[in-house]
Symmetry: C2
Subunit: 293 residues, 2 copies
């Protein structure tokens, strides 16, 4: 078993690898836009899942890094396109002007397209792909399926179609499983595949990732309401401003808390399969799901 | 050497394979939009190049078909995104409402994203990928590089940046080489790689494809002017309506004709390397480059 990393070490590994990958983006305005959005990073949860599941299954961080970067590129492209005027029309992303505000809509569109394309080309040209072509194909296949119209994009479609409508909690659950869950699932799965893990390891890693992603979404909804309540005195359960149904608007605050707890337990229980070495992911999950903002 | 096909047979092979591929697009509005744009097909030149170069290098059409479909999906996604209001803002595509007019802008954006993603997932999950993973990785790598920000997207960027400006013929040439040439080059290259062809075969196929793509663009510019002249009486060499420089506006009609002839000769000369079996491509090239519209 390779040595474990701290979250700070993982984030630093990923950021350094992304900077290196960015050297082959070219040198035009779209390359600049790609880097801008990629650098305006979040928690890098997806790449960390790829790296850590690779480690848990006996693989090295070096082998998993190109896949970890690829999933972050795809996540970033999806945010750029989600922010566009014809989608959510968001001017800000993580406290900075969103890509189309900073670079104009046409170049933001192309930056998203180019990040999606580069996710594949960077993995396809890495050393590991030549050494382990079958694992590379299987891992990229998980990524492409998670990102495609049976995965993430299907979730975005349901999201767009349910705007301004009251939806059922089943629909909301299905939507979240696809929109955010599919890529998180692929992140974990790729780590197992790169390491040459077993089918059972793959299944457990994906189960964990599904539950984690789902729990994360419920907690997000809870924090949105608590934040709003504290700052605006908005009635709990109403999300009229965005016109979108949330777990809190559908289940109420108390039931949402219970639901988040249940999903967290299920995620942790899937981790048990990986034994003591899964302590890092256990703690990461608990930290993510008990966050205050 | 596998038997040759006629253009009609190739188009029919490709269309049947695309219809089959569309079965795994899902069943939402984006899947419908993907099929709509894919079915509104052009000449299928790119997939034909993949199939025919595979044959010329001793491979089978069956092996090359997933790659041929992938390049057509990528070509189609690029047209959908090119037509969007923030890009060329074209309401019509090949005599039908463009994707965003028919399905709304948000779903057209996602249909483009999904086609690009599906191009990779469909190849990654095909039988050939399991049987010949190294060839698959090399071929997909050519595709991703041709489609990315060092290829097609870089050409789109230069195109956007040169709108309303007088550009040099060198810039125009570089732009065309990237915007349309990079994907045509990848199409031919993939055929060679799938068949397990030599480096020299790959080089000659890509040289041919570059020259063909370039000649095609010059002929397109000539036909635009001749068509305009016949129907509108617009002065030759002016393309003021679109504000874009063309070979005719930069070189004049007569020089453009000479240039197209020179490029065609260079394309045909690269084909000679493949001997008598390249007769089909020779005729196809001549037909494409002497077309009246």
């Amino acid at each position: 078993m390779n040595k474990g990393y701290t979250t700070e070490e993982y984030v630093s590994l990923v950021n350094t690898a992304l900077e290196k990958a960015a050297e082959s983006f070219g040198d035009n305005v779209v390359a600049e836009a790609m880097k801008y959005s990629l650098e305006n990073g979040g928690k890098r949860i997806r790449p960390i899942l790829t790296l850590e599941f690779c480690r848990l299954c006996g693989g090295s961080a070096e082998d998993a890094l190109p896949f970890a970067c690829a999933v972050e590129m795809i996540h970033t492209y999806s945010l750029i396109h989600d922010d566009l005027p014809c989608m959510d029309d968001d001017d800000m992303r993580r406290g900075k002007p969103s890509c189309h505000i900073r670079f104009k809509e046409n170049f933001a569109l192309l930056a998203g397209d180019a990040l999606l394309t580069h996710a594949f080309s960077s993995v396809l040209s890495c050393d590991f792909a030549k050494r382990e072509p079958l694992r590379t194909i299987k891992a990229l296949s998980l990524l492409a399926e998670g990102a495609g119209n049976m995965g993430m994009i299907a979730g975005q479609v349901t999201d767009l179609q349910s705007e301004g409508k009251e939806i059922s909690s089943d629909t909301l659950e299905m939507m979240d499983k696809l929109k955010t869950g599919a890529l998180i699932r692929a992140s974990a799965g790729m780590g197992v595949v790169v390491a040459g893990g077993s089918d059972e390891q793959l299944e457990k890693a994906q189960l964990y990732a599904s539950k984690l992603g789902h729990a994360f979404q419920v907690v997000d909804d809870i924090l949105d309401v608590i934040g709003d309540e504290e700052s605006l005195g908005k009635p709990i359960g109403s999300d009229a401003a965005s016109g979108k149904s949330t777990y809190v608007s559908l289940l109420g605050l108390e039931m949402s808390r219970i639901y988040a707890g249940k999903l967290t337990d299920e995620a942790l229980s899937a981790l048990e399969f990986f034994g003591e070495e899964s302590e890092y992911l256990k703690q990461l999950s608990q930290k993510l799901l008990s966050r205050r903002k």
